[in-house]
Amino acid sequence: MDLDLRKSGHGIGSNASLQSNLVLYSYCHSSCSWRIRFALSLKGIPYEYKAVDLSKGEQYSPEFERLNPLHYVPVLVDDNVVVSDSYAIFLHLEEKYTQKPLLPVDPQLRALNLQVASIIHSSIQPLHMLNVLKDMEKMFCAESKPWAQFTIDKGFSALEKLLKDFAGTYATGEHIYMADVFLAPQITLAVQRFDIDMSKFPTLSRLYETYKALPEFQASSPQRQPDALIHNP
């Protein structure tokens, strides 16, 4: 299957004179894809956007199966290197594209950023992804939103405790790093889709206000992606 080329386009920051070998398979509403779009935007790296319409099941096409047999977005193709999973993609980008570092040099701060990102990536987001929510609804014969709220509240409580002594303008001080790249889409999703009461999490709530105003975060937001036109409600 040839993915619909009408939905391709260049990410924000694209410069005609810059050679870009990066292709990002993304879905506008995927928070994991949003992390990588945000990271690429912060680093100022141009890329080709290849839309994968999850609502049409395009992630199950034979072509996409070869890229990622788990059928998840995002997938990054960087010349002959194919990386799926947003945490792995982030590490690859951070190692290979050293402009605008998104991990600090200080070992303890570095560990904190890896930790925050890992909590979101491993302990929160997997538990409320769409496939899992569908499974829960089948098993419970009930609405799955309470389950999602339960897992997000638990994760956010941990993050609030972890960050309250470190956060400045951003999650781990005055510079934007990996923790922010993973937090920003997660908080947005929690508020907009799962109606999480953020008054319980004052640090995260304040960070959310900061992220909303960031041009790079706005540029990578779902409604600004090439495939968003087809998905406006």
């Binding site: 990622n68 990386v83 190692e95 303890q108 990102a117 997997p126 899992v132 941990a158 405790k161």
Partner: protein
Amino acid sequence: MYLYNDIIEESEVKERVGGSATDTEIEMEEKKLKLYSYWISSCSFRVRFALNLKGLPYDYLAVTSFSDPEFLKLNPIGFVPVLVDGDSVIVDSLAIIMSHIQYLEDKYPDPPLLPRDIHQRAINFQAATIVSSSIQPFQNYTVVKYIEEKVGTDEKLPWTQSVIGKGFMALEKLLKDHARRYATGDEILLADLFLAPQLDTAIKRFNVDMKEFPTLSRLHETYNEMAAFRKALPENQPDAVH
């Protein structure tokens, strides 16, 4: 900065790993790592395996209650594993391993945990994150208990098995063209640190049928022959319940 040395010193040390002390070992002893671990936690298992591979002695501090106020002071989010390295307190196995890779590589270069080649590095990152994000969260105690409370034991196991199976299918495809003795070649690397505990957990705790995963099965047999892995096995920890 975490400065809870008093709390750490008050913690009961369940076991010291290592033999008799020499001058070098005395020096190492003063800087010895402390690992807060729970025997059956596959995330703790990853870190134990990594430390054993590097030949790093550490104090094993068994966490018997996740709401223990002393433990929560050290780690307010109440997860295991936690690694205390001097003044540093690091939680979360992926963060522990990733943040320590440079430190471990510089100070204890053999064996390396990541290859030099950028393509091979990406495959190791990917295998590690498939385990840590697409499999392990669904076999986590909190999740399994929640499901069990809602629908009972009978539905919990098949669901967890199907999630593990999907992740293993992806790993099998990712690794089949790269695996030799180990997951991504002839050296043990990051992918193995995450894969080995996951395979052990899937087979022993969730009764996953491995015949559809020949590459992973073979790797599992290889890991079981390794002293560093056997030493890290849940049943061999000081707090193991038999």
